[in-house]
């Protein structure tokens, strides 16, 4: 199957944390402590960290090592920097909101991340929440132009830069 053109139907039962279960069982369980201004100090397995060799565009230094923090009953997750207590993002599964979303994973990214097949691929998009000036509902947007692609087995990730006029870096979520 050619998963370089990647388009997955959203499965509400497939939590992003399923990515965790793909790890080899014989991997040593080493925990690392992450300081977070939001969560305090959290302990995660070292093997659950995602390594982004180049970080996220514009925030390269603080985003080379990231961890996904789940919260029940929402389609959103926290993606927290493992090295900077102040850096955390809200992310979501793009197919939960845009079933027609599709991306092309370039060959070189496939190789770099060591993607082992469609089930190995995790895709998430960053969500921005901009408070309303008058205290009303915040403006919530997703960055469909720069999706994050990760391998669940190698734990490597990269932010893609799509060249696709159909997608916006500020796609509105909700009315």
């Amino acid at each position: 199957m050619d998963y370089r053109v990647f388009r997955r139907a959203h499965d509400p039962d497939r939590r992003m944390s399923e990515i965790e279960r793909n790890r080899a069982d014989d991997e040593a369980m080493t925990t690392v402590r992450i300081d977070s201004r939001r969560f305090g100090t959290i302990e995660v397995e070292e093997s659950s960290l995602f390594e982004f060799a180049d970080g996220l565009l514009g925030l390269e230094e603080s985003t080379r090592s990231l961890v996904l923090v789940e919260q029940e009953d929402t389609p959103y997750y926290w993606l927290h920097s493992a090295t900077d207590p102040d850096v955390a993002f809200v992310v979501t599964d793009p197919w939960a909101f845009w079933p027609d979303y599709d991306i092309v994973i370039p060959d070189e990214v496939e190789e770099e991340l060591g993607l082992a097949g469609p089930e190995d691929v995790g895709v998430m998009v960053l969500v921005s929440v901009r408070p309303a000036a008058d205290g009303g509902s915040p403006t919530v947007t997703a960055n469909l132009l720069g999706p994050l692609v990760v391998s669940s087995s190698t734990r490597r990730g990269r932010q893609l830069v799509l060249d696709n006029a159909r997608y916006s870096a500020r796609q509105r979520i909700g009315a």
Binding site: R37, R38, V140, S168, R170
Partner: protein, 90 residues
């Protein structure tokens, strides 16, 4: 910065295997043809800048509660996203 003058149809070579050719000159636009190995990422400068700006904007203040954010429509029918008109109008 190295600055070179080229005519339509002419090209420059970068390293061993990147060729940038002036395909067409038309008004105030120039069309470039880029021949490079797949391992070299080529994209418009402003797109990477837009994503970088949005990444910085996505760093969250501490007040966001995930449970307060909008949920997907229960039964999505047709949801082809339309690009937002303004990048900075919000």
């Amino acid at each position: 910065m190295l600055v070179l003058s080229r005519r339509e149809g002419q090209a420059i070579v970068i390293g061993d295997n990147v060729i940038v050719r002036i395909v067409e000159l038309k008004g105030d636009q120039v069309r470039l043809g880029i021949d490079a190995p797949r391992s070299i990422v080529v994209h418009r400068e402003e797109i990477a800048e837009e994503i970088a700006a949005e990444n910085r904007a996505a760093r969250q203040a501490e007040t966001v509660n995930l449970a307060d954010l909008p949920l997907p429509m229960p039964s999505p029918t047709k949801a082809d996203p339309q690009p937002e008109e303004s990048a900075d109008g919000i």
